[in-house]
């Protein structure tokens, strides 16, 4: 198949925003509180993607390892900041552990995917590295926010049960196992649900993008399968690391529940 994607002109783009105006009007007439969040998110998405588009052109031209890793660190930092704000973690210092977990796992999975699966050389080729890192970090960010929120809420709701288990001689890991299970389920389930529907209910974003660019679907499915496995690996390993750090905020020395 020939790579021949149709460029969307300015006027049709503006038409998209015109349709958004209908949504804004609807939220306003129904007095829905989501209106403000929608306006903020729409503005942020527009501004951020426009900036990203121009920046990516520049980055793809330069294409050196320092710049690519720096971009990755910045992406990880912003993702960590979003995770911290969306979850109910009171300790702001916990962001350090989120950055460590997200960057270490994200970079490792990204490197593995590009080097051993796609086989790109060099592995830090910006055209591949940044979009793939974006997909891995983006999905891991969403799942991590859900994970931490669920863990801390579940801990608060079940403090007495956890302490009861500790009085039976359970280690913190044993006492917290039910909370860990629920948190991992919340983190991983959306991706598993998405994987179950792929090819039947919908064609995922990466595959759609590649097909629109003229790539053979049989090539695009290989990328899609590989990236989904990379994403679920990143989510799983990051979640395990985050829970390892998170429980220490709640159960401390002497296996005592820490009082806030």
């Amino acid at each position: 198949m020939e790579a021949n994607i149709i460029d969307i002109k300015i006027f049709p783009m503006l038409l998209c925003y015109f349709f958004s105006g209908f949504l804004i009007t609807l939220y306003y007439l129904l007095k829905l509180e989501i209106l403000y969040d929608f306006l903020v998110s729409l503005s942020r998405m527009t501004i951020q993607l426009v900036i990203a588009g121009f920046l990516l052109r520049y980055i793809f031209e330069i294409n050196n390892i320092t710049l690519v890793v720096l971009i990755f660190i910045i992406m990880s930092f912003f993702a960590s900041y979003i995770i911290l704000n969306k979850s109910t973690v009171k300790s702001r210092e916990f962001i350090i552990y989120i950055i460590i977990s997200l960057s270490f796992v994200g970079l490792t999975v990204n490197y593995f995917f590009l080097t051993f699966i796609v086989g790109i050389k060099p592995w830090y080729d910006a055209v591949y590295f940044i979009p793939v890192a974006g997909m891995i970090l983006g999905n891991t960010m969403s799942s991590s926010a859900l994970l931490l929120e669920r863990f801390f809420n579940d801990f608060n709701d079940n403090k007495k049960q956890i302490e009861t288990y500790l009085t039976f001689g359970a280690t913190p890991l044993e006492a917290l196992r039910p909370s860990f299970n629920k948190s991992m389920m919340v983190a991983v389930l959306p991706t598993l649900t998405s994987m179950s529907g792929m090819g039947l209910v919908f064609l995922p974003g990466m595959m759609t993008g590649q097909i629109l660019s003229g790539i053979d679907p049989l090539i695009s499915i290989k990328y899609q399968i590989a990236i989904m496995l990379a994403i679920i690996s990143s989510i799983t390993f990051t979640s395990i690391l985050l829970l390892t750090f998170a429980y220490r905020l709640k159960v401390g020395k002497g296996h005592r529940i820490i009082i806030d």
Binding site: K160, L166, G254
Partner: protein, 215 residues
């Protein structure tokens, strides 16, 4: 025989002094009662004894500082029962087995005959093993909680208000049962119950975090 000694224990939480300079000793073969008005520090003292709250001072079990003992092991030796027991949403039998699922207890065997025997001594028949916990009364749950803890054979049993949900007849049964168990362990009970205060070998009175007198 085992001995639990505490010296100059103070607990301060959220800018409040919960316990102030408490010193006393406990030994197996005795039943101790801690009494005082609400907020006097009874529960806090029990929780200090099994190291569930941070404290200043010294606590020793058989002359070894309790913070030097592996926490999982300490909690079995000095076993604390909450005032409001917590259960898993399963049968009574599954709840009695629960502590044995943790690594520290894996070398112990859950003996169903002993479990049934304990339940019967507390006034609950064999049929309770298959009953679901959520269908039981507060008093029945308190008894099951006590049986569950005794299955672990602790050196000291630290009980917070064990008879608060029981009628007088059940309270008598539980008290007599605890008296029969004390030869194998030390029992420390935080309570308002005049009956328990009456039968205790030693009575500790707490007021505003201070041990005012020991009889």
């Amino acid at each position: 025989m085992h001995k639990l000694d505490i010296a100059n224990i103070s607990v301060r939480l959220n800018n409040k002094d919960l316990l102030r300079d408490i010193s006393c000793s406990f030994s197996t073969g005795n039943l101790y009662c801690i009494y005082g008005e609400s907020g006097s520090g009874k529960t806090t003292l029990l929780r200090v004894l099994c190291s569930l709250v941070p404290y200043i001072g010294l606590a020793k079990l058989d002359n070894m500082a309790i913070d030097k003992i592996k926490p999982e092991l300490l909690r079995i030796k000095l076993h604390y029962l909450h005032q409001e027991p917590v259960f898993i949403n399963e049968t009574v039998g599954a709840n009695l087995k629960l502590p044995f699922s943790f690594k520290i207890n894996r070398d112990k065997v859950f003996d169903e005959k002993i479990a049934i025997s304990l339940l019967c001594e507390l006034g609950l028949d064999e049929g309770y093993m298959e009953k679901r916990i959520d269908g039981l009364s507060g008093g029945e749950k308190q008894k099951i909680c006590l049986a569950r803890s005794l299955m672990l054979k602790p050196e000291f049993l630290l009980i917070d208000e064990p008879t608060s949900a029981l009628d007088i007849a059940s309270e008598d049964k539980v008290i007599n049962f605890l008296l029969s168990m004390k030869q194998d362990m030390g029992i420390v009970i935080a309570t308002h119950s005049p009956q328990i205060i009456g039968i205790a070998d030693e009575k500790l009175s707490l007021s505003m975090g201070r041990l005012s007198h020991v009889k």
